[in-house]
């Protein structure tokens, strides 16, 4: 079943390139991926902390390299997110003016790559699947983008290419830092060895730093974030939904999957640095977001800012805060996809996203206004939405602080400052909502029509999922914590 979820989008993409009807094939593929992901959710054994549904195919015995896939709570959540956002992105695409087939194929490649990365147990494929998205992203922004699309496409592609090669170095060094007899690309085997304390402290520090930079570039960790807002502002809406909603989570997922369980000493050593950088994300980028004059740029910056909270959860490494981080990853993915999708629809109708030219659109687009409002509330972290559940767990977990209770109180300070970040995000989100949907409606926009039914369904799914996990976060926590309990075992000496 896991293999089906990975290869359904990829095979559909290939069929589309070979000439199948683009929209129909993409819809069928994304609906069946979504259904299969739901099936995985319901057949998932919550009590177990190991990987489930494992399939393996040996590639190279001498390198201990094999194509192994399987899911635990962590990857299940990410697969659900990817499948949901893919479905929404395909629905939001509609008709494409040129190279329609290529557009859908690119979307499905990104989605299949992300799902593949989330469900790979093998380090090599974990990395390689993520890279599958690189070229499609370049094409999506370059061919179908708007605004300064050429510069944006180059920037994101080269930035991410260098980032992922730094990450590759980190992964190779990680592999080499294990004693020769225990080297393997299998994450389970690596974890078993790491628990026996076999990686030297020095090696851990070096490898962790490389992983932090490599993943950090992919996450848009401050100060490596400059590619993100421009790319998201220029990208066509479905591409921005998938990239900001799903693909960017790969870096966070990687830190949770590799850096925390395998390199606890490295994580402890660099914790202060990470805290400083993530405060850069929350405070500095937050203030920059307030200054934005266009909706697409504002959403791009806000997605960078929210990475800070998730990183805070990961950095402090308590079960509560990492669970919160996963919850927020899920919630943020859905809410930012919703907002980018709606912004794309607005751009289609009005041709501009400059705040000064918009206003009062809720009068002609009541449904879009409602949906955007819900998305804004979710992004701020209003209770009732999954974002709130995630943020509250992160703040409590970080304040309690997993690493060292008595020493430097960097996590407590960070939590206090990060809470101010909530205020910042309230300011820019509500302002954006007011200037877009409230106020006087300009003459030019009188003729605009509201969203059609085929878009209301994906919006309903996104909002529904946000509310569902907002009110019942427990169902979420139950999936994730068994995995984390063993993950953080190495930290508790």
């Amino acid at each position: 079943m896991v293999l089906f979820v990975i290869f359904c989008p990829i095979i559909a993409a290939m069929l589309i390139m070979a000439g199948a009807t683009a929209r129909k094939t993409a819809l069928v593929a994304s609906v069946s991926t979504f259904a299969a992901a739901l099936f995985l959710l319901f057949s998932f054994d919550q009590g177990q902390s190991d990987f489930q549904h494992v399939t393996s195919l040996t590639i190279s015995p001498e390198w201990h390299l094999s194509f192994t896939t399987g899911i635990d709570g962590l990857s299940l959540v990410m697969i659900l997110l990817a499948a949901t956002v893919t479905l929404a992105a395909v629905c939001f695409t509609g008709t494409v003016e040129k190279y329609e087939n290529a557009f859908y194929a690119c979307l499905l490649f990104i989605s299949g790559g992300a799902i593949g990365a989330f469900s790979s147990i093998d380090l090599f494929f974990f990395y390689a699947f993520h890279e599958l998205a690189l070229i499609p992203t370049f094409l999506l922004i370059g061919i179908w983008g708007s605004g300064n699309r050429v510069a944006a496409a180059w920037k994101i592609t080269i930035y991410l290419a260098i980032g992922s090669f730094i990450l590759l170095l980190g992964l190779i060094l990680l592999y080499q830092s294990f004693p020769a007899s225990a080297r393997s690309f299998d994450i389970r085997a690596l974890k078993a060895t790491a628990e026996l304390d076999q990686i030297g402290a020095d090696a851990q520090r070096h490898v962790y730093l490389l992983l932090l930079i490599g993943f950090g570039i992919l996450i848009s960790l401050f100060p490596f974030h400059t590619w993100a807002p421009e790319a998201y502002a220029s990208a066509p809406a479905p591409a921005a939904m998938l990239h900001a909603g799903v693909l960017k989570k790969f870096g966070l997922y990687g830190l949770l999957r590799l850096a925390i369980p395998l390199l606890p000493e490295g994580a402890r050593y660099w914790a202060t640095l990470l805290v400083v950088l993530l405060l850069g994300n929350i405070i500095y980028v937050g203030l920059v977001t307030i200054a934005q004059k266009r909706l697409d740029w504002m959403l791009g910056y806000s997605s960078v800012m929210h990475m800070g909270y998730i990183l805070l959860g990961i950095a402090s490494a308590t079960i509560l805060s990492t669970t919160g981080a996963i919850a927020l990853m899920f919630a943020h993915g859905l809410s930012i996809a919703l907002l980018f999708g709606l912004a794309g629809e607005l751009r289609k109708r009005t041709g501009t996203l400059v705040f000064d030219e918009l206003g009062g659109l809720a009068k002609v687009m009541p449904f879009a206004g409602l949906a955007f409002g819900l998305g804004v509330f979710a992004a701020i972290g209003l209770p009732g939405f999954a974002n709130f559940a995630g943020e509250i767990m992160i703040f409590f977990g970080a304040f309690k602080n997993g690493w060292e209770m008595n020493r430097f109180h960097s996590f407590q300070i960070a939590t206090v400052l990060a809470l101010w970040g909530v205020v910042i995000s309230t300011v820019y989100m509500l302002r954006a909502y007011r200037r877009t949907f409230m106020g006087a409606l300009s003459e030019r926009w009188k003729e605009i029509v509201d969203l059609r039914l085929s878009l209301r369904i994906p919006i309903a799914i996104l909002v529904g999922a946000l509310l569902c996990y907002g009110f019942f976060p427990q169902s979420f926590v139950r999936i994730v914590t068994p995995a984390f309990r063993t993950y953080l075992a190495t930290n508790k000496r």
Partner: protein, 476 residues
């Protein structure tokens, strides 16, 4: 069943080459393309035969012919490599043959085509001997066989002034590098009294040997080999020659000549590894090659010239492997390089006949021929190093070797230059998909080229996912 021995392969190819020339001379009425098909079939038979050759390790007491020639696993592997390259180059040449006509005005339409198909076979023999050579004299002779047949091939379309310039530059600089080679061999022979690499190694291991003089000889040999593999600062000829030469010959130069150069480099360096300066020298050359090749490729607007600079850049990555002396990483990288370079050149030859060699001429190719555009995308992303292509695994093994040996500087520069690579390779993809072009008529692709290109695409992706067959072949 009698086993085939390694030297039989070269003799078979040599006989094939002479036969083709004779048929060309006496059977004047036939369509000359038949010659290419005969040559390809013959090479394919030899390629199959090479799988039945059992490799034998280099022995210390070898005398006579076997003190010149080895049939170890590495050499057998690269014999197959040379044969395969030549077969693909011949396919490219069939596509290119119409262009030759313009270079022989007034003559019959088929003038010159026969030799064009026969010469690569002799080059192939040279390459096959070269990868087996373990004696400086034999290295010199087989290198000359390769180089002299390239002299003719590079300047084949001599009415084109660019080609003429390329031919002259290649001739002069190649001769100069040969002079360096001979001079270096003379120094080494003077110090050690030997030309066989094994025996040289024994003498150098002796502390009483004059290491300074041996080093000088080694550096001179390195200069000559640096010329073959296009390492900085011996790369000046590369862009002009690659751009001016007939395109299949460019492909052949950049794959065959380079691969053989690296095999010889590995063999020649082995005795000198005991000297610490050797590795330092290689590291410096590597850094220069990486930086120059990648930076100079950035502004190129002519695709052939771009591929020339990219070939310098790839020499840099291969040299990282040499600095770490990881034979299987180099071997794998060369195979990946073979696939992706031939793929790019195959597309270039077909498109260039319709439009031109500039990157602008690829504008809107995705509309005119989705197949060619897709093939070019695979070629370019593999050259850039995107996972699930052979090019990525090549870089992976190289960087793995470098990290295992703590060559931090090489790794840092390597990663930064990979970033440059993404820019100039993706420029081609951008032209094909983003830009629109005034021309809209379809570009035809004949059956054989379609088959060859599909094979290369599949092989590039296959090796990117499942590298084990090549690794196994290299281990033997």
């Amino acid at each position: 069943m009698t086993m085939i021995t390694a030297p039989d392969l070269e003799i078979a190819v040599l006989v094939l080459g002479i036969a083709i020339l004779l048929i060309e001379a006496f059977a004047t009425k036939i369509d000359k393309r038949v010659l290419a098909f005969v040559a390809m079939a013959g090479l394919a038979v030899v390629l199959i035969a090479s799988f039945f050759v059992a490799p034998s390790p280099i022995s210390q007491q070898a005398t006579g012919f076997w003190s010149f020639y080895t049939a170890d696993g590495l050499s057998i592997f690269f014999k197959k490599f040379s044969l395969l390259t030549t077969i693909f180059v011949l396919i490219l040449m069939i596509d290119y043959a119409p262009v030759l006509r313009s270079s022989f005005p007034g003559a019959t339409p088929q003038a010159g085509v026969g030799e064009f198909f026969a010469l690569p076979i002799f080059t192939c023999v040279g390459l096959m001997y070269l990868v087996s050579a373990i004696d400086f004299v034999f290295i010199f002779v087989s290198l000359e066989l390769v180089t002299i047949s390239f002299y003719v091939l590079v300047s084949f379309t001599r009415r084109n002034p660019l080609t003429l310039e390329a031919g002259a530059k290649y001739l002069v600089l190649s001769a100069l590098s040969t002079a360096f080679l001979v001079y270096g061999i003379a120094w080494i022979f003077g110090v050690t009294g030997q030309t066989n690499l094994q025996r040289i190694a024994e003498v150098i291991a002796n502390p009483a040997t004059d290491h300074g003089a041996a080093m000088l000889g080694m550096v001179l040999v390195l200069v000559a080999l640096g010329f073959k593999i296009a390492a900085v600062p011996f790369q000046i000829w590369v862009p002009d020659v690659y751009q001016g030469a007939p395109t299949p010959v460019t492909a052949y130069l950049s794959v065959g000549s380079k691969a053989a150069g690296f095999v010889v480099l590995l063999r020649v360096l082995e005795p000198f590894l005991a000297l610490r300066q050797t590795q330092r020298l290689i590291v410096v050359v590597t850094l220069l090659t990486l930086i120059y090749g990648n930076l100079a490729a950035l502004p190129q607007a002519n695709l052939k010239r771009l591929l020339a600079y990219s070939s310098i850049a790839h020499a840099g990555y291969l040299l990282i492997g040499v600095a770490c002396f990881d034979v299987s990483a180099i071997g794998f990288y060369l195979v990946a390089y073979l696939l992706m370079t031939l793929l790019s050149f195959a597309v270039l030859i077909i498109v260039a006949q319709q439009t031109g060699e500039q990157i602008d001429d690829f504008d809107g190719l995705a509309k005119r021929s989705p197949f060619l555009a897709f093939a070019m995308v695979i070629g370019m992303v593999s050259l850039a190093g995107v996972p699930f292509t052979a090019g990525f695994l090549g870089k992976f093994f190289i960087f793995y070797a470098a990290l295992a040996q703590h060559q931090t500087m090489l790794v840092v520069i390597g990663v930064l230059t990979v970033g440059c690579g993404f820019y100039y390779y993706l420029k081609v993809i951008r032209a094909m998909y983003w830009q629109s072009s005034a021309k809209v008529e379809k570009i035809p692709v004949n059956g054989l080229s379609r088959l060859a290109i599909s094979t290369l695409i599949i092989a590039t992706i296959w090796l990117g996912v499942y590298p084990q067959p090549i690794l196994d072949a290299l281990k033997r």
